[in-house]
């Protein structure tokens, strides 16, 4: 018997399905040089590869957070009992962050609470003091004296370990590349450094060095301090930020996945058949796009909220309810945002259908369906690919705004939007509580910036002239 029971949330299944799809795509692409060539160009782009390195770290955290299970409790009356709490691999990995709850706010790396409390002394006199934290810096006997030294040594030690790890992996990469190319280590290193390899290893190494410098001290300090402080209910802000990553990734990817079939099928059909089909599809997307995006999303989410409230019996646990809400949000975002891509695909198909090879296919009596599938869809895939990567960052940013408006993810689900939403009133406090906001914005900036840079690299590789993603 296993000490845990797997819990598959709907979004987990879709995420892993997506991962399987991406792996299948990679294998399919590897064998075909004409499909591989744009990705080879992405590999040559320094900013693209650096961004990909950062993105892969976010992706790893997101995937770890997409494996859910319930731990077994000590057996009662010979029966196996599982905890009611659904945890993910990430939760287990950072369990120290999850369980070390303070009473309320505490500043980053603090050893004392942020607000004063009345404490009774041994002889019964009451005093207003800043009490010690339960976990942050609790290993220090005299925080006033030892705090700075302890933080500095731990941070430095973490940094040293991280740099060592980076150095070892850099040497390994260099050695592997040297073996593959059949040259010496020195030659290989200089090739990497001068950017003479097919892949911009220098950018990858620089980005991972940067990540190591950031993550090393963080990992070393996190078990002993709240590196980004704690929020109002005393939860570690770093933990919240880590959990928010999955929400952002799920929204960014699944919403585009929902949008894709609509845009592709309708866009290609409109461009290929023209006439009545084109008119009705154009009418459909003009109608949808004439409603201001946020309003349409808000209206749809409001209706979904009412539905969930009135059908509470379908959603037994908070996790499932929050998960269904997340998926519904993805579906709504997808349905409201396919119009732009659809218009682009229609235009491209209109152009393609007049070309000679399509005319030839017509002359040979190839069916409409087959012409669309074999001759048109593969030739508009570059637009689809570009739209996929370009939309991601916009969706992550949109989630934050929607959660602020109150039509985003479930309030119980951690996301950048809910973090910002719950932290915004804290700016008005005196003295100010800034760390939750700062952490949310910093993580979000890193994710979105990496996604934008990667999207630019992909766009340049597929079609340097195409202007997609220009929003009005």
């Amino acid at each position: 018997m296993m000490p845990f029971r797997m819990v598959w949330l709907w979004s987990d299944l879709l995420v892993w399905l997506l991962v399987a799809g991406v792996i299948a795509f990679i294998f399919y692409t590897r064998a075909r040089p004409h499909l591989r060539s744009p990705w080879v160009r992405v590999g040559r782009s320094a900013s693209g590869m650096a961004a990909a390195t950062v993105l892969s770290v976010f992706l790893l955290i997101g995937l770890l957070d997409s494996v859910h299970f319930r731990m077994a409790l000590p057996p009662q009356d010979g029966k196996r009992v599982y905890s009611t709490q659904v945890e993910s691999l990430l939760d287990r990995a950072v369990i120290v962050l999850r369980l070390t709850r303070e009473k309320t706010y505490s500043a980053p790396l603090a050893t004392h609470l942020f607000s004063k409390e009345t404490v009774q002394d041994a002889d019964g006199t009451e005093m207003r003091v800043y009490p010690r934290l339960r976990h942050g810096g609790s290993h220090l006997s005299n925080p006033e004296r030892d705090w700075a030294g302890d933080v500095a040594t731990r941070a430095f030690r973490g940094l040293a370990w991280a740099l060592l790890a980076w150095f070892v992996s850099a040497i390994t990469v260099c050695a592997v590349l040297a073996r593959n190319a059949g040259v010496g280590m020195e030659q290989s290193w200089s090739d990497i450094w001068r950017g003479r390899k097919a892949v911009q290893w220098r950018a990858i190494l620089c980005a991972s060095a940067f990540l190591c410098v950031m993550a090393g001290p963080l990992i070393a300090l996190a078990p002993y301090y709240h590196v980004f402080g704690t929020d109002k209910v005393g939860q570690d802000v770093l933990y919240q930020a880590l959990k928010s990553i999955r929400t952002g990734l799920v929204i960014g990817t699944l919403a585009t996945l929902v949008m894709l079939p609509f845009a592709l099928v309708l866009g290609v059909m409109a461009g290929y058949f023209k006439g009545m089909v084109d008119d009705s599809i154009q009418y459909l997307y003009t109608t949808l796009s004439s409603i201001p995006g946020v309003l349409l999303i808000a209206a749809a989410v409001l209706m979904m909220q009412v539905y969930i409230e009135n059908h509470a019996e379908i959603f037994p646990t908070t996790e499932i309810r929050a998960d269904v809400r997340l998926l519904a949000l993805c579906v709504i975002l997808g349905i409201t945002s396919w119009t732009g891509l659809c218009r682009l695909l229609r235009g491209e198909t209109l152009k393609l259908r007049e070309l000679e090879y399509i005319q030839a296919a017509h002359a040979f009596g190839v069916s409409h369906w087959r012409i669309m599938m074999r001759h048109i869809v593969p030739n508009v895939m570059h637009i689809v690919m570009i739209a996929l990567v370009m939309d991601f960052s916009g969706l992550v940013l949109a989630e934050a705004v929607l959660s602020y408006v109150g039509v985003g993810v479930d309030p119980s689900m951690l996301s950048f939007g809910t973090m910002i939403n719950s932290a915004r009133l804290e700016m008005a406090r005196e003295p100010m509580v800034w760390w939750a906001l700062a952490a949310a914005f910093a993580f979000m900036l890193a994710l979105v910036l990496a996604a934008n840079l990667f999207a630019d690299a992909v766009r340049d590789a597929y079609d340097p002239r195409l202007v997609v993603g220009a929003r009005t």
Partner: protein, 325 residues
């Protein structure tokens, strides 16, 4: 020209009918009025009488499409669809679920929205175009490179950060402007300065980068080479030829948003406490006032369609190659 505009107008009305039907389906088919009433009154511990009363007070107790009990015209007019949806075409927005007059609210609240949006729009456009032109003029130099880097970084930052950061720096740290609030008349300037500034800054990244690509595309065309071959100085090529011709694609993206300026900016207005349509919408969403959300969806679509028609018209005015078809 008249015929063309007329055709576009009729098409626009068709689109509005579609919007109307879609919103109606969304608001009355996904959840029944009973569900809405319960959501408003609190799902549990609500008596059927309270639900009925809520519905009756707001006119949701009528049949959806056809009222069998009434006679003649009222069979169609005395229904939820006619009362709540068809009347929108006459801009009769009716009362909100809280009993406020939506039409009156809109007419008073659109001016503060416009007061923020219009300066932000005009100054913003100037800033974006100048910045894009600067990058295009110094293309393939360090100015261009770092300009693009700045754009990408700025478009990766959430609007919420600009707003919260701006309020903190200008409002709290430097005490230059009040953090939020609004006044009518000339005093409004001090309340408007920061929202306008943030509106402009928030758009720099995306817009400037987009305009830059438009300029660069224009620069690579043959007539620019001809102009250079004639010996025109680069500044004259840029300002006289490239700028004018690049205005055509820029115009398409810009004119369509002009009517939407009335709708205000949702987030900005709610953060700065500006009593415009944006904060009105947000309040309606948080209070789950479905009548206001329906009205705003309709109003937004009307303004967007006006924007589309304006775009078509302006296109034909600035680009003689475009013929009405």
């Amino acid at each position: 020209m008249t015929g063309y505009i007329l055709r576009r107008l009729i098409y626009g009305i068709f689109v509005l009918v579609g919007v109307n039907v879609l919103t109606f389906a969304l608001f009355f088919f996904v959840n029944s009025p009973d569900d809405m009433a319960r959501a408003q009154l609190g799902v549990k511990r609500v008596t059927p009488e309270a639900v009925e009363k809520w519905k009756r007070e707001r006119g949701y107790d009528k049949p959806l499409f056809i009222n069998e009990k009434s006679s003649r015209f009222e069979r169609v007019t005395d229904t939820v669809f006619f009362e709540k949806s068809v009347k929108l075409f006459a801009f009769e927005f009716g009362a909100s679920d809280q009993g406020r007059n939506i039409g009156y609210d809109i007419s008073t609240r659109m001016w503060p929205s416009l007061a923020v949006q219009l300066p932000a729009f005009i100054v913003g456009l100037l800033v974006y175009i100048s910045f894009a032109l600067l990058m295009a003029f110094f293309r393939a130099t360090y100015i261009d490179f770092w300009g693009v880097v700045l754009c990408v970084v700025m478009m990766s930052i959430s609007t919420l950060f600009y707003i919260i950061g701006g309020q903190f720096v200008f409002g709290k740290l430097w005490n230059l402007v009040p953090i939020s609030g609004y006044e009518t008349g000339f005093d409004a300037v001090k309340f408007l300065a920061l929202p306008v500034l943030i509106g402009i800054i928030g758009g720099i990244g995306g817009s400037s980068r987009w305009y830059r690509t438009i300029f660069l595309e224009e620069i690579s065309k043959d007539y620019v080479r001809t102009a250079r071959a004639k010996g025109l100085p680069e500044t004259r090529v840029m300002f006289r030829h490239v700028l004018q011709n690049a205005m055509i694609p820029i115009l398409t993206g810009v004119v369509v948003v002009i009517p939407l300026l009335f709708m205000g900016a949702l987030i900005t207005e709610s953060f700065f406490g500006i009593p415009g349509l944006g904060s009105y919408t947000i309040d309606a969403i948080t209070q789950q006032d479905f009548a206001i959300v329906r009205a705003m969806v309709f109003l937004g679509s009307v303004l967007y369609i006006i924007g589309l028609i304006l775009t078509d018209v302006s296109y034909t005015l600035v680009d003689p190659r475009v013929r009405f078809s």
